[in-house]
Symmetry: C2
Subunit: 318 residues, 2 copies
DNA sequence: TAATATTATGTAACCGGTTACATTACAATA
DNA sequence: TATTGTAATGTAACCGGTTACATAATATTA
């Protein structure tokens, strides 16, 4: 069933049918009624592909997600979708791109070949093809002033982590992923500043993404008698530290305080429950989508959006 | 940059360029080299939309996901993507469809309008439009013999749950979502069969999706002195029960045994760690994608795929 | 060398929409 | 009534690919 079939059935031209479908141009009420009735009866739905070909607008947004199995990104997607779907947009998603540049380029090319209207992407390589279409980045570095970046308030997140364990007397252990990751850099810098301001000493311990949770927990507790508190990478790492601490008969927060990150489901299920920082990923996603839609409609500034974090005080800190 | 531009630059016809791009028909080596060089130099990529319009094959698969924030579905997506992406397919995903039939229909219509090549969907309403395109279902009822269904071995999952707590002397409490959900029905039926076979008594307790975790935990432990074991809905519910049990000074598995489902990250982080059943969602996703590709290529039978489960024995059972 | 088969290339229609422009119908005005 | 303006509708080109069919070039065979 095509627009020409409808036109024939209604004894009008394709232009008239198109006008009715799109509510554009002048059409008499009589004709509109007649055509709409036939559209209804035949359950006709215009083909989006044909539309896209001519208009170069696909009503599709390309989304790049580094890791599919990470709940943080799932929540971001949830936020994105909650804005895009009511606006009539569909999501073309490339998962598990990780930091694989080849996969990244393949995903972008695929988007471009499908006349995508815009891209929401995490960390990302510059490419002249991309810059021509609306782009919003999340969870990545501040690459250039021309590119909108949606990021959690990592500085505040770091500062609030320190506040949670501010009663520490001895040194604080900071576990972190490589500082080459911009979000990590921001957070750790802020943690250090706040510790210094409070005249607390600290030790940095860099963790590789390839280290097992178990190993990271062992590293955390190896010299635990030296420390009063651990600020670790996120809730999962924190939960593994708690597990090992239990085995070692260490009490939290009596022997040491512990701070996670992300406020995942498990952070309120551990014993003790975890103090943590909520990045509000749904809000990150929503904001990214809103900014992108504004950009597509040509009415957006290029300033970045910083998403507020929420401090969640629970039992693992004093 | 279009195929006509390339043809002009290379002094050949569009047909020749098309043949070269698609490796179809006869082309002399000389011409092929000349054209490929220009394609390379201009970084030309054929437009997928135009292709799709003519061929009615979009190289896109529509995926319906009920809940974006559920890690179980994230893992299924991961599995799907790991098969589809190397095969050159892109995923058009509708998240958070839940059991909202309106959203469901909208998603399907959107897929059809985009000339999608196939659909991977969870629970789903019949619709004459859909049946015309390749479809694979997961996590849903066995609607009809014509539709391929990929499902976890719920019967085995139920049976293994019982085996985990088989030392129980008193009754077993079974918490479950409404039996109108086909997967729930299968599992609970199997649990009951296995309990009967072992001459164990039991109580069924139906839980609503809208009940809070806290409430469900309270319901679970309300008459706990009556029970020796609880088989609950999944790991999250189980973890909440553990949390409340701790508060009530109940020991697990000494006072009662507890079985979760899904083998989520948190199941090895609780104290005690949770015995659970792994549905292997990545495998479900992979299988669904493979079956769909076979169906698209017209070389698939309509028989269902049952995905094996893995029993994970941990500390919450004896 | 002419006839024929084979290979290489080109032309134009097609996919199913949108829209610039042309045309027709009808109402308003002189 | 003739003229002009406006509303309604129609025609055909266009988007950027693919492919059936036609034609040209070259190789093979008699």
């Amino acid at each position: 069933m095509t627009i020409r079939d409808i036109a024939k059935l209604a004894n009008v031209s394709v232009a008239t049918v198109s006008r009715i479908i799109n509510n554009s141009g002048k059409v008499s009420d009589k004709t509109r009624l007649k055509v709409n009735k036939i559209i209804e009866e035949t359950n006709y739905h215009p083909n989006q592909v044909a539309r896209t070909l001519y208009q170069k607008r696909s009503k599709m947004i390309g989304i790049i997600i580094p890791f599919a199995e990470n709940i943080f990104y799932s929540r971001i997607i949830n936020g994105i979708q909650s804005v895009l779907q009511p606006a009539g947009y569909t999501c073309l998603i490339s998962f598990s791109v990780g930091s694989n540049n080849k996969k990244y380029q393949a995903a972008i090319n695929n988007f471009l070949q499908n006349n995508i209207d815009g891209i929401i992407s995490s960390a990302f390589e510059m490419n002249e093809n991309i810059c021509r279409i609306p782009l919003v980045m999340y969870d990545s570095a501040n690459i250039s002033d021309d590119i909108i970046r949606i990021a959690s308030d990592n500085a505040k997140g770091g500062k609030e982590s320190v506040k949670l364990i501010s009663t520490a007397k001895r040194a604080v252990l900071i576990q972190h992923l490589p500082l080459s990751l911009p979000t990590v850099k921001e957070r750790v810098t802020s943690i250090i500043n706040e510790l210094k301001k409070r005249h607390l000493t600290y030790t940095l311990q860099e963790i590789s993404e390839h280290d097992t949770y178990k190993l990271v927990a062992e590293k955390a507790l190896h010299n635990i008698q030296t420390y009063d508190a651990i600020i670790t990478i996120n809730d999962i790492y924190a939960a593994h530290i708690l597990k090992l601490a239990r085995k070692m008969n260490l009490r939290v927060p009596a022997d040491f305080q512990l701070v996670g990150y992300d406020n995942t489901e498990m952070s309120e299920l551990t014993s003790p429950t975890l103090s943590t920082i909520d990045q509000q990923p749904e809000l990150i996603g929503k904001t990214a989508a809103k900014r992108l839609l504004a950009l597509i409609d040509g009415k957006s500034s290029t300033e970045n959006s910083v998403i507020d974090i929420k401090t969640v005080k629970r039992e693992s800190t004093k």
